[in-house]
Symmetry: C2
Subunit: 316 residues, 2 copies
C-alpha cells in the first residue's frame, strides 16, 4: 500500500535534484529580481507536474539529467502561469502566501511571469527534443487561449457546460497531459504508450479541476491556502453553477440576478450541480485508472494509480 | 544609392512571405481572440527585425522557409513584448492605434502577450536550431529582467548612466543582436561572422534606443504615433536626464524636486544631455558601420549599412 509519505519517498532523490535545478535557475545576479524569485521558489507546491514528468520518463529511455531539466522547466512554467493568473484573478493569496501581485504590484508580476516563461524555455532548449518543444509551445498557447476565453466570458450567463470543459482542458488538463507525456516522448517510448499517457493526463487534469472547482465552493475559508468562493465572486462560472443555470434552478437564478452572491453560494453548496460534478470527477478518474491498467507494469505505474486515487479523495 | 523605397523593394518578396506567415499564425478558431490578434497584425511596424534576420541569414546557408519562420517568430515575439510593455507603461497609443490595454483592458493584454510568446515559440520549434532556441530564450529573459529593473527604478534619482545602458541593452539592443545573428547561426556561417553580427546588432540597438529616447524628448506630440515626453512623466529616466542629474544642473534638479515636469522637459530639449546622447548614438553607429566593413561583401551588407544610416538620421 502506497501512502502519501512513501509516495514522495520513492521520488525523494529525483525531486531534490529537480528542486536544486529550480533554485539554481531562479538565482539572479540582480538583487531585487533575486529576492522576488526566491520568494516564489520558497512557496513550492506539491510538484505534481514534476512527478508526472518522472513517471512518464520511466516508460522510455531518457537520460536522468535531461528528464530533471524538463521536469524543472515544467514546474517553472507552471509557476509562470500562476503568477499571471494571480494578476488576472486579482488574487491576494496563493499557497498560503501573499502573491507578487500584492507584494510588488501587477506590473512586476507581469514581467516576473515572462521571466519565468523564458527561464523554463532555457531549460527546455538545453534538454527537450524539437518535438517536445513544439508540444510545450502548443500547450502554452492553448492555456493562454483558455485564460483569454475565461476572462472574456466572465459573468456571462451564456457560458455553456461545453465551454467550461474546453476551458478546464486548457487551464489544467493540457499541462497534466504534457507533463505525463514529455518524458516518454523524449525517451522514445512506443507511440501507443505516449498517446495513452497524454489521455491519462487529460482525464486526470479534468477530474482535478472539477474537484478544485467543487472545493472552491464547499470548503470553509480557513482551510484553503486561498479564499474560497473566489470563482463565483470573480464572475468565473464553474460546473456546479452552470449545471444549476442549465437546469433553471429558480431560486439560484433569482439570487444571481439580484447579485445576492452569498445566497447563490449557499444554494450551490448542497446543489445537484456539486453532486453531478463529483460524479463526473469520479468518471474521469475511473477512465484514467482503466487506461493506466493498459500500461506496462512497473512501480511507477502503481504510484501513478495511487496519486490519482489521492487526487480524487483530497478534501482541500 | 539605396533609398528607403528600393531598400524595401529588395526584400519585398521575402517580407510578403513573412507577413503571410505572421497573418496565418495569428489566425484563430476562436472569434474573440481572432479579432484581437488581427487588429495587432494590422498595425505592423517597419519589420526591421525581420529584415535583420534576412540579412543575417544571407551570410550563411539556410533554407528560405526556415529563415522566414524564424523572422516571423522574431516579429511576433517583438509584438508580444510591445503588448506587455504597453501594460507596464499604461500606454494608450502604439503605432498610431489604441493599444489592447485600452481597447480590452490590461488583463486581456496580458494573456494576448503570453499567447504571442507561445505562438513565436511554435514557429521557432518548427524551424530554429537548439542553439538558436537557447539564444532566443536567454534574450527574452534578459529583456524581462531589464523591464523589471526599469520598473523598479522608476523615479529613482539613484539610477546611473551605467544602469541606463544596461537597461537599453536588454530593452532593445539584445533583440537587434539576436535578429541579426540567428539566420547566420542556423545557416552555419563562420563563428567570427556570427559574433560580428551580434556585436553590430548591439551597437545599432544601442544607437537606436538612444535616438528613440532623444526623440521622446524633442519631438512635438503630433508627429510621433505615441505621446511625447512619455518617459519623463512615467518616471523612466533616460540618458539626457541622467546626464543632467549627474552634472548637477541646478535648474533642472530644482524643477524635478518640485515635480514641475514641463520645466524639466523644456530644459532637457536644449540640454547638453541631448547633445551628448546624439554624439553617443553617432559613436555607436560608427562602431557598427566599421564592423560591417569587416563582413564579406554582398548586396545585403550594403543594405545593412544603408538601414543603419537611415536609423541614425530619422527624425521621428
Amino acid at each position: 500500500m502506497i501512502t502519501s509519505a512513501n509516495l514522495y519517498d520513492y521520488f525523494e532523490n529525483d525531486l531534490s535534484e529537480i528542486k536544486n535545478i529550480i533554485t539554481l535557475n531562479l538565482k539572479n545576479r540582480d538583487s531585487s529580481t533575486s529576492t522576488l524569485l526566491n520568494s516564489l521558489a520558497a512557496t513550492e507546491g506539491k510538484m505534481i507536474r514534476a512527478i508526472f514528468t518522472l513517471i512518464g520518463g520511466s516508460f522510455g529511455e531518457i537520460d536522468k539529467s535531461k528528464l530533471y531539466n524538463i521536469a524543472a522547466g515544467i514546474e517553472i512554467l507552471h509557476l509562470a502561469t500562476l503568477v499571471h493568473d494571480d494578476i488576472i484573478d486579482d488574487s491576494g493569496l496563493r499557497r498560503g502566501k501573499e502573491t507578487i501581485n500584492i507584494t510588488h504590484g501587477a506590473k512586476t508580476a507581469l514581467f516576473t511571469g515572462d521571466y519565468l516563461f523564458a527561464q523554463a524555455f532555457i531549460l527546455f532548449s538545453e534538454s527537450a527534443s524539437r518535438e517536445s518543444f513544439y508540444n510545450i509551445s502548443k500547450t502554452i498557447k492553448f492555456i493562454c487561449q483558455s485564460e483569454i476565453n475565461q476572462f472574456l466570458s466572465k459573468y456571462s450567463l451564456n457560458s455553456t457546460i461545453l465551454d467550461y470543459f474546453r476551458r478546464i482542458n486548457g487551464k489544467c488538463a493540457s499541462l497534466f497531459s504534457l507533463s505525463l507525456s514529455l518524458g516518454a516522448l523524449d525517451g522514445h517510448a512506443d507511440d501507443k504508450i505516449i498517446n495513452t499517457l497524454k489521455r491519462i493526463g487529460y482525464y486526470v487534469g479534468t477530474a482535478f479541476q472539477l474537484i478544485d472547482d467543487i472545493l472552491d465552493i464547499t470548503t470553509p475559508n480557513t482551510v484553503l491556502g486561498k479564499p474560497s468562493g473566489n470563482d463565483l465572486f470573480e464572475g468565473i462560472y464553474t460546473f456546479p453553477l452552470l449545471f444549476e443555470i442549465k437546469n433553471k434552478n429558480v431560486k439560484l437564478l433569482s439570487a444571481l440576478e439580484s447579485n445576492d452572491l452569498s445566497t447563490v453560494s449557499d444554494i450551490l453548496k448542497t446543489s445537484d450541480g456539486i453532486k453531478t460534478a463529483r460524479k463526473l470527477a469520479e468518471k474521469y478518474t475511473l477512465k484514467a485508472l482503466s487506461l493506466i491498467d493498459t500500461l506496462p507494469n512497473s512501480h511507477e505505474k502503481t504510484i501513478l494509480k495511487s496519486i490519482i486515487d489521492k487526487l480524487l479523495k483530497r478534501e482541500y
